[in-house]
Amino acid sequence: MEYVIHLCILISIYLILTQSFNISFGLGLLFNLAHVASYAIGAYATALFATELGANFFECVVVSMLLSGLFSLLIGGISLRLEQDYFAVGTLAFSALVSALLINWKSLTRGVLGIPGIPRPEFLSIDFYNNLNFLFLSGSLAIFVLIILYLLFQTPFARALKAQAESESATKALACNTALICNVSFFISSAFAGLAGSLYAYYINYIDPSSFSLTEMVFILTITVTGRPGSFIGCILATFFLVLLPEPLRFIDMSPGILGPMRQALYATILFVVVYINRRNIFPVKRSV
């Protein structure tokens, strides 16, 4: 039972993480490879504020979301000046920069040793060290975030974001401030990634830079691409499918040294196959004047 609860908690965290990526990448085709860095900033903000300053759950969540959101404005301010492939490379550079900071800024992050002893949330006298209770917390938050994002997908903002993904110049010619729209999509996307990071830190009680590597970004990307970028329901189904997919591997008698790489190879293969099948639809050529 504990194992099922564990999987459900992971799914709730990944639902927030991937659906938030689905805003900027799925709707806006903004290939932001620094999404995992926003996730990391959220996790580290919670870890540091909870352990060093004794901040409560709500303070940590707000700070994590704000810091991740502000980080995205920095990325957006610089990377959005680049186009398509260059934009992806630019955001990848930001991701590498955050990763390097997490490893090397030892006085703050303890480097590869990570931050242990992150306390579970405390409020309403509920024992969140009980995983079932934590599942109620993370599950409720995931449902709340999904409702907000579902409504966001129906707004004029989402339509403008989709429009600029197809033709930025035609969208500008319809009086849309595309730069603002893209930056706001980045902010929302990253803020929710920060929330996912915060929940992750609270749940695992320990974080280190290896949890926020490029491999994690590949996993987020695999889920979004498998669910079809821009599809709200597709992204949810793909999250369930891909989080649960490697689980049967655990029951095969195999050493952990092989199991880990097998899981990564499985995701990489799925990503390749899905991209290959949908190669004409996932990254349509942007039109310009």
């Binding site: 339509r159 035609a170 500008k172 010619a173 009086a175 849309c176």
Partner: protein, 247 residues
Amino acid sequence: MLRVEEISFSIGHFHILQELSFELIAGETAGIIGPNGSGKTTLFNTLSGFHYPQKGKIFFQDQDITRLRPYRRSRAGIGRVFQNSGVFREMTVLENIVTALEGKTSLWKSLLYSPKRLRALREESMSYLEQISLADKAKAKASSLSGGQQRLLEIIRTVAFGAELFLLDEPTAGVSPRMKDDVINLIKKLQEDGKTVLIIEHDINFIKEFCERIIVLDQGTVILDDTPEKVAGSEKLHEIYFGSTAA
């Protein structure tokens, strides 16, 4: 309505527009013709804010818009129909119009989902689609429309968004002869509604049907600006298209 004062635009040492000037009054329809590379599309890009001239000024409704960004010019009332179709092909036909109607929405309002407002916008969009006989294709993807239908959609989208000045870049390029008439009728409707229209075209016989005036560009500057009849009979026009006349 539109005043262009000696604008120049260069890329490196290549001078695309050179001290180009002209004026349009409200409700006027003018055609722009010129050989390839004469600066027609660059002129449109400069008028709609995708390029900024290095010299000169552009005034729209007596407001200096020379340094305004494209979306601000659109908000001021300049509508653009692109040479390469600017319809959002992955969206439905209806969504294309709804997006245009929402173009001027402020950021905060655009982040709110209002089913009531969306319903009203859909109804309004349908009335625009009826004007171009595409109401029955409202739910189809715009990519499923023919080239001519996409042109009509793009023009009506610009009407829906509330433009006063229409910059139409080769609106009938690649359009079948039957659809060409539909595009022409829509442009005539714009004229009847008192809109100001500037059209880039290659075919002088085609635009002289509905243009009161034709501006001829060559090497980034205006070399003729007159009635269609006078321009059609001009030796200068013959010269730029076919080389110098025989001695």
